[in-house]
Symmetry: C2
């Protein structure tokens, strides 16, 4: 079996299919609507959006694009003009219930015609209210997936996520982190093992989200809890529009706007100096880098 | 009378006072809440926020800061290390009624200890639904204020606003534009005339907004019109967080975050490929550069 861009494309499309089916199974009412799009320079994508009874707004997007590498990028890589191919699956889910976290996943593959290639990706969780037990489970499941590939991955990629998913101007992390990795290349892995790893990360998404979703999706919530959710979504917007490199790259390079911005939440709210209550403050106090969730003990 | 930074500071603080009083008069119920803040490096500000019966969220901020010029900036100006002083008044008002536009105004003064100084500012209007008559009046009033100072200002600053208040990734202007200017310095004006001009712009704010507000603040609106407003506010967020240089500068340089982000709307909404109706599409069709509103004729 040759691990080339066609195989990786097939595998990622099949991953998208599995995840969409699984999420429809969780939501019970919502169905994904698919928009196929083509990129003028080459390639295209399958944007899939759900508006469900429990998933208020979700996107599970596949894209596979190719063509001439933009000058800005090949210069940043320190190489000359070349062709590129990039493919990936990106997910963001905004739940209705404030006790269910926002989740994000991305796995991707990039190559040029000059023998350069790498994998990248990540999963991170943004609970509106942090439940320590669920936070511990989330990180342990990620560690298990990483350890099966390479025991160095989890500690390294967990730290990378802490640094990446950081809302610098608010001095708080976006949520409880997770893993983030990029430029995973021949120095660390093979194409076959790299593909296996991102598929393992991709297939960890459904069980990980299910574990976060099931205990809380029908839980009663107060008006204050809903309000808090809307304000936390505001921070999500701030991160994505101000700091997220993927979003910025898409906006700068005239990408498929509706597909890129599917990550933005449905209803959102900003209030000048919004006052957190005691339980909200408890969550805020844990939005920081360096928490060792795997070895954390929930009281 | 010597036009120095102390005089300019006094005049801008008095402008803030007049505008706050006027807006409380329009709203009838809302009162501004003031937060005084100090900047570690020198100076500070008076952030004033209103949550009213008609103005859902509004901020009228004064700041006057000084100290050592950040390296990034003096290099960009092509000069060496120096001290700077910057002062200004910034306003953003988000009305409850979707028939009342969002409005923004900013007037500012900047100087270094190396004989460099300039004025800047702007007013722009973001109607959720464009009323051609009101759009024409808005631009004519701005032209009057500009013409009294210099007949070249309006055409030049109107074009500048079209270019500046542009949501590039959506290929639409933020609203119907207005005026925007920067680096208005000794090549074009004197300190006394420059101050007069920004005060005239500042004092045009209340009559301009009143003219937009009065015909519509009590007008009935449908659920669809409210929904449209929430989605247009989403575009406002996108502009401010992705493209607005003032906001980006504030976030990059560790400014007073709550004060900088007072411009973000209260309730906001994003929907994947939100469908505009006929009347909404009419407004979208007019969100483009180069419309000559002053000579426009409303049918």
């Amino acid at each position: 079996m040759i691990v080339d861009k066609d195989l990786i494309t097939q595998r990622l499309q099949a991953l998208q299919d599995r995840i969409c089916l699984g999420l429809e199974g969780l939501d019970k009412e919502g169905k994904f609507r698919e928009d196929k799009w083509e990129r003028p320079g080459g390639g295209g994508g399958r944007t899939r959006i759900i508006t469900g009874q429990h998933i208020e707004k979700g996107g599970v997007n596949f894209s596979g694009v190719q063509g001439d590498m933009p000058e800005k990028i090949y210069k940043a890589l320190g190489i000359g003009p070349c062709k590129f191919f990039a493919t990936g699956v990106s997910i963001v889910l905004h739940p209705r219930n404030p006790h269910v976290p926002i989740i994000h996943m991305n796995v991707r593959y990039f190559q040029t015609d000059k023998d350069l290639w790498w994998f990248g990706g990540g999963i991170d969780l943004t609970p509106h209210y942090i439940d320590p037990k669920l936070a511990i489970n989330f990180h342990r499941r990620l560690k298990d997936v990483c350890d099966a590939a390479d025991p160095q991955y989890y500690p390294e990629f967990k730290k990378w996520a802490d640094d990446y998913f950081y809302v610098k101007h608010r001095k708080e992390t976006r949520g409880i982190g997770g893993i983030f990795f990029d430029r995973l290349n021949a120095e660390r892995t093979t194409k076959a093992a790299g593909l296996d790893y991102i598929l393992a990360v991709g297939d960890s998404f459904l069980p990980i989200y299910t574990e976060q979703f099931l205990p809380n999706y029908e839980r009663a919530y107060t008006e204050q809890e809903k309000e808090w959710q809307l304000h936390r979504r505001g921070r999500y917007v701030e991160f994505n529009l101000v700091w997220d490199r993927g979003t910025k790259f898409g906006l700068d390079t005239d990408g498929n706007i509706e597909s890129i911005l599917m990550s933005l939440p449905p209803e959102t709210r900003w209030t000048y100096k919004y006052q957190a209550g005691t339980r909200e403050q408890e969550t805020l106090d844990q939005l920081k880098k360096g928490i060792d969730w795997v070895n954390h003990t929930a009281e």
